[in-house]
């Protein structure tokens, strides 16, 4: 069982690489180095702040874009191109297919993030000339960003399992934006009354909680992050991903592949 999932995952990874997804790293490198050099030249005393903010925001945004644009095609592309038929005629349960695809995409993003992290630290070294202990917090921020990616990937896959790429992209992107305001949504919900309150609260709790995972500004200001928060966010991301993938499996199990 597990080896099939691994094979599907590595094939998905291979596909992403050969589709030149990783070329985004070039754009990232250009952006970051440009900013680092620019900031280093004009010496506005907040070089660290700029590099960390810009670097981490870019890691996050580039990754989200990849997660969505690759993720939405994971299932629908295979159906459209009918490559799925020869896979499913083999002893591959449908759920393994979904999980394998997810792991492949997540793996691609982790690798991508790894290279980007090197870039961020490199740029940081360039402008600050040295690392200080609180810079280790950047790793926590990156870890949280990866957790965000897991959630977005699972959502993109969920949508891909039943909807066309265009709609999947719209839904996934909307959920990303809404999720960034998850705190406020819950706030809004608590101000409503009656039936609306129930519906709004339910919706607010189901929206992915990206606001808790976005610690870029805190890290840039070297604010400490509690271990509790790290643990809880980890569990949250894992459970949310499981939820979305379970949904994807339930839908995909039922689907007639015309």
């Amino acid at each position: 069982m597990s080896s099939r999932i691994v094979h599907i995952a590595s094939n998905t990874f291979r596909e992403a690489v050969r589709d030149r997804v990783l070329y985004n790293l070039i754009a990232f490198a250009v952006l970051l180095s440009g900013a680092a050099i620019f900031v280093g030249q004009i010496s506005i005393h907040i070089e660290r702040l700029v590099v960390i903010n810009l670097g981490l925001t870019a890691v996050s945004l580039f990754g989200i874009v990849i997660a969505i644009f690759v993720g939405i095609g994971l299932v629908s592309k295979e159906i459209e191109k009918r490559t799925l038929y020869t896979v499913l005629s083999r002893p591959v349960p449908r759920w393994e297919f979904i999980v394998g695809k997810f792991l492949g995409l997540a793996g691609t993003l982790v690798v991508n993030t790894f290279f980007m992290a090197i870039g961020v630290f490199g740029a940081l070294l360039y402008v600050a000339h040295t690392f200080s202990a609180p810079d280790a917090l950047i790793l926590v921020a990156l870890y949280f960003i990866i957790l965000e990616f897991l959630i977005i990937c699972s959502l993109a896959l969920l949508f891909s399992s039943f909807s066309s790429p265009l709609f999947s992209a719209v839904f996934a992107f909307s959920l990303f934006v809404i999720g960034s305001f998850a705190d406020d949504i819950r706030g809004f919900a608590s101000l409503t009354q009656g039936v609306t309150r129930w519906i709004a609260t339910a919706a607010a709790y189901l929206v992915p909680n990206f606001s808790a995972l976005n610690v870029i500004s805190a890290v840039a200001h070297q604010q400490p992050l509690s271990l509790q928060l790290v643990l809880q966010n980890t569990f949250y991301a894992l459970f949310y991903t499981t939820m979305a993938l379970s949904g994807a499996v339930l839908i995909f199990e039922r689907r007639n592949l015309k």
Partner: protein
């Protein structure tokens, strides 16, 4: 043991967005395929052949009915290790090379590592793709894709093969190769179930056929039986352009083509015709008993079904 037993599989689609009208893609189908035979599933486009195949593969879920494959329930996961599937006009991961593709499929089919390499080489050679095994599939021609498709279907040495329109898009050489391959597979003891709308292929290859039209089974039987000499006529071909009077007297229909004459006459006049030609010292080229072609059987069944609603053999 029957390799495939289809027990009442049917499929009804709901078409339309608001008021969903049911569309019957397949009427309840009952069909058996014996082990070791090449079975042709014939029908015009849209008849329900692909729907049936997809249901057997578990890609589409039937509205009713079941099936047994190699003695097991068709949804039993163990079954999938024993079957190979070639879909219609296959399209594979174009970023992979042929070798990588087969490696991937081999992994998914559970072919152990040591065997896999060997098996891939064997299969590539068999379908004639050894030279291009390192080329990405996006550069493959249609014929090459078809061959790759066959390769992935036979890779794990399955007992039962399902081919959906295996000859489509192939040039005559390619079709010949596929036909040869299918016969070889039969010699190896495998069962081949394939769908096509090209009757000459079916006639040449199949032991038995089934004809399906508009979701309904119209006829099943051994090719020989279906095309047995019903007409009772013979075809006589001789050299030259003349038609002896005696021939005409026998009631021959004659056609002159180039320097040959082709005549059709009743079977019981066969000997008289031979004598006639000898007397005239005309060189006999060939005498062939005429069989109903599968095509005419096919057409007849289709027409028959159109005039008599809901009748099956």
């Amino acid at each position: 043991m029957a390799a495939i037993e289809i027990l009442g599989l049917e499929k009804t689609y709901k078409v339309g967005f608001w008021r969903q009208r049911p569309k019957r893609a397949l009427q309840p189908l009952h069909l058996n395929v014996e082990e070791g035979e090449i079975f042709g599933f014939l029908g015009p486009n849209g008849a329900g052949k692909t729907t049936t195949l997809k249901m057997l593969m578990g890609l589409v879920f039937p509205t009713a009915g079941t099936a047994r494959i190699l003695g097991c329930e068709w949804t039993d996961p163990k079954v999938k290790a024993q079957i190979g599937f070639l879909p219609e006009q296959p399209y594979f991961y174009d970023y992979l090379t042929a070798h990588e593709l087969l490696d991937y499929y081999g992994q998914l089919s559970g072919v152990p590592g040591k065997n896999r390499k060997r098996r891939i080489e064997e299969v590539l050679q068999r379908v004639g793709l050894t030279d291009v095994k390192g080329v990405q599939l996006r550069k493959f021609s249609k014929g090459m894709l078809q061959r790759a498709g066959i390769a992935q279907a036979i890779l794990h040495d399955p007992k039962l093969l399902f081919f959906d329109e295996p000859m489509s898009g192939l040039d005559p050489l390619g079709r010949r190769e596929v036909r040869d391959l299918m016969e070889q597979l039969q010699c190896e003891g495998k069962t081949v179930f394939f769908s096509t709308h090209i009757l000459s292929d079916a006639e040449a290859l199949c032991d038995r056929v089934a004809i399906i039209h508009k979701g309904e089974l119209r006829g099943v039987g051994a090719v020989e039986d279906l095309t047995s000499t019903v007409q009772g006529k013979v075809e006589v071909i001789w050299q030259g352009t003349q038609v002896p009077a005696s021939m005409k007297a026998l009631g021959a229909e004659c056609h002159v083509t180039g320097d040959r004459v082709r005549a059709i006459l009743p079977e019981n006049r066969q000997d008289a015709a031979i004598d006639s030609l000898r007397r005239e010292r005309i060189r006999l080229i060939a005498i062939t008993p005429l069989r109903t072609s599968l095509e005419s059987y096919f057409v007849e069944k289709l027409q028959h079904s159109q005039t008599t609603a809901g009748s099956t053999l």
